[in-house]
């Protein structure tokens, strides 16, 4: 069952990603980008990391995708014009893929079978965030604040 689900999700995700990478219309690309993230969070659900999956949907579809479409909107006089595709990139990407696959095949510990895992409750994550990972949490908070302010300043009207 879960392998079936896995195959379905993998196909969905990869095809959505490919669409996002290659579709000519920027808006379609952005939307399929969102779909790809649905797929990724489906993966997470499948592996029992529900919380991460939900966060993924929440952040990417709720925020990042909207941001992207907004940007597309704000720069839309350009959307039609910018086209063009370099095959060099494709070559590099395929080369890297090959390298990665080869490396994976050469690595030893890949035969580990998925063992039974107790579901990771939100409470546990919360406790961990507040105990072991409290400093990273603070740092991320600072980072987000900085990013917020920085983004605001970047998009302020240039005084000419």
């Amino acid at each position: 069952m879960s392998s079936v689900a896995f195959v379905i999700i993998a196909v969905l995700t990869l095809s959505a990603a490919l669409a996002a990478a290659t579709l000519q219309k920027l808006m379609h690309a952005a939307l399929s980008f969102a779909v790809m993230f649905v797929g990724i969070s489906a993966f997470f659900f499948l592996f029992g990391a529900e919380f991460v999956g939900l966060v993924q949907i929440f952040v990417y579809i709720g925020a990042v995708a909207v941001l992207i479409v907004f940007t597309i909107l704000l720069t839309r006089y350009d959307v039609g014009k910018v086209r063009g595709f370099s095959w060099g990139g494709v070559v590099v990407a395929i080369a890297v893929f090959g390298g990665l696959v080869w490396a994976i095949s050469k690595t030893k510990l890949v035969s580990v079978a998925p063992s039974q895992v107790e579901p990771l409750t939100v409470q546990r994550i919360g406790e961990l965030l507040m105990t072991n990972y409290v400093w990273p949490l603070q740092c991320v908070g600072v980072l987000l604040t900085a990013a917020l302010i920085g983004a605001l300043i970047l998009v302020m009207e240039e005084k000419s």
Binding site: S86, G89, V92, A93, A95, V96
Partner: protein, 657 residues
Amino acid sequence: MNSWITSNVWLIPAAPIVAALLILAFGKAARREAAAFAVIGQLAALTMSILAFVPTLHSHGFRTVQNFTWFTFGEQSLRIGFVLDPLAAAMMLMIALVGLCIFIFSIGYMAEDKNFSRFFAYLSFFSGSMLGVVVANSLLLLFVFWELVGLASYLLIGFWIDRPSAAAAAKKAFITTRIGDMGFFLGILWLYHQSGTLLFYDGGHGCLESVALSAIGSSVTLVALLIFCGAAGKSGQFPLHVWLPDAMEGPTPVSALIHAATMVAAGVFLVARVYPIFSVGAVNGVTPSLTVVVWIGVVTGLMAALIAVAQFDIKRILAYSTVSQLGLMMVSLGVGGVTAGIMHLLAHGFFKALLFLGAGSVIHGCHHEQDIRKMGGLRRLMPVTFGTYAVGMMALSGVPFFFSGGWTKEEILHATSHWPRSHLPYYLMMIGVVLTALYMTRQVIYVFFGNRRAASEHAHESPGVMTLPLIVLAVCAILFSVVLTPAWPGLESYLTGHPADFDPHLLIQPMIIVSLALVGAGISLGIWMYRRADGIDPLQQTQPALFRFLENKMWIDEIYDRTVIALAALAARLSDWMDRYIWDGLVRGVAAIGQFLAKLTTGADERVINAGVDEGTVGAHGFGRLMSRRHSGQIQTYLGAIALGMLALILLYAWLG
């Protein structure tokens, strides 16, 4: 209860200095704040001095010192500290009280001045440093405060910078005292070299205590005399007295503060403080250094008194009287009457401040006229000033029984008469006393009696803020005599540490009669001479030559001009010439050689080195162009390069293991 103050004496000088800083911080616009800060600071100092004074009363020979290490060089550390003993406590009390009166007085006196706040900053600064001198327990710290006092007096005397005379006077005061301080500093160095410490009291190891004193040995006389140079400079003793009268250019409160109460007293205080050094190896109270002190004091006292007789500037008269009184104190110190000297110092502080402030009030009333010939008949116009001034005059000329000055003078004469070396100082001092009474009478008659003259037409009594301090000081000058009577020598016992007991028989003794006679003679002589005094001085009529001699301060300034200053100018010209023609010549020669060498090297530079560098840069430029081709500015190219690099790393890693 007030142990905290005995262990934190430094707070007392700190208060006014903090006030000064605050005033400076607030700027010249804040006039009332300035006055408020200054008075509050002084008030704090006064309160703390009283608190510090109380415990010294309770126990005889009370002394607390706090020493601490200032800094350490090599293996020996320089230690400074603060001391609280009867001498310091009494001085502090006097300085703080008189200072407070003067501050309040100057609020009225300087009311129209545009640099009001600056003035108060200087005043507070001065009084802070003076208090510092008093409580210092280290000759070095004392010297530091001493120099601060000098600086403050410089600023204050030259306060009206726009007057050239004031600037000149300030410079004169500064340089003259500096001459003395040079000797003082040499003395300090010598003392440190001999005894290895500059602390006065250090649990038996201070430089005023037996161990160190014995260590100094034979050179003690030299040290003492060098230190006395400083004292002479500050308290205007004979060779270095010239700055004091000129310093009258400063505002009158300044004159009161500097030349009555505090600064000039510093010299006397210094001698009293380091008295052990002076009196090392004394055979019945006589040492060479002390002898010098005596004769200097005698000469100063007599000379100043004589000059004072022939002055017309109301403040100059007081200034010369100050000089002569200081001479008197020096004499009494020299002859061993330390307590007498200090007592006179304290008493003098009160009544001389009173006199100066009175003079200030008169000047203020007469619209800044200082020539006594133009005054007169002010008795009616300025009753309060007159009354207080009269009190001061009595005290100064030493009328016995009621006025503090009388007792102290009598004590000093008493001490002088017992000097084994010779009796000459005694007789000269007597003449001095007569003269004192004489010129004070003259001044009072000129200013307050007789018919009105030019300046006194529109004279008016000064405001309460000025008369109040006068009254306070007058009361002090009278009440102070209570602790001075030989019948119950409270202050003496306090200073020396011997218990005092009441003995009315001591109230009448020959010396009192003597001084009474002297003072009576002086006053009556003065009244007789100046009874119908007017624009022109009777002495001038009878003895013109003598009078001119005295009026021009015995030509001392001129003599200095001819001798010392001329010598200095000559030396300056000489060195200038040498600088111009000899040293410059050398320098120019060296420069010429340098230029020649430079020419040589430039040739080499252009031919050899530059060429090489040029070639190098050309090559580098070419290489850079070659490289910059690769630098396309395309993000994606870079990204691809990064990806390939990562791929290479992965492959390498996987291949290796």
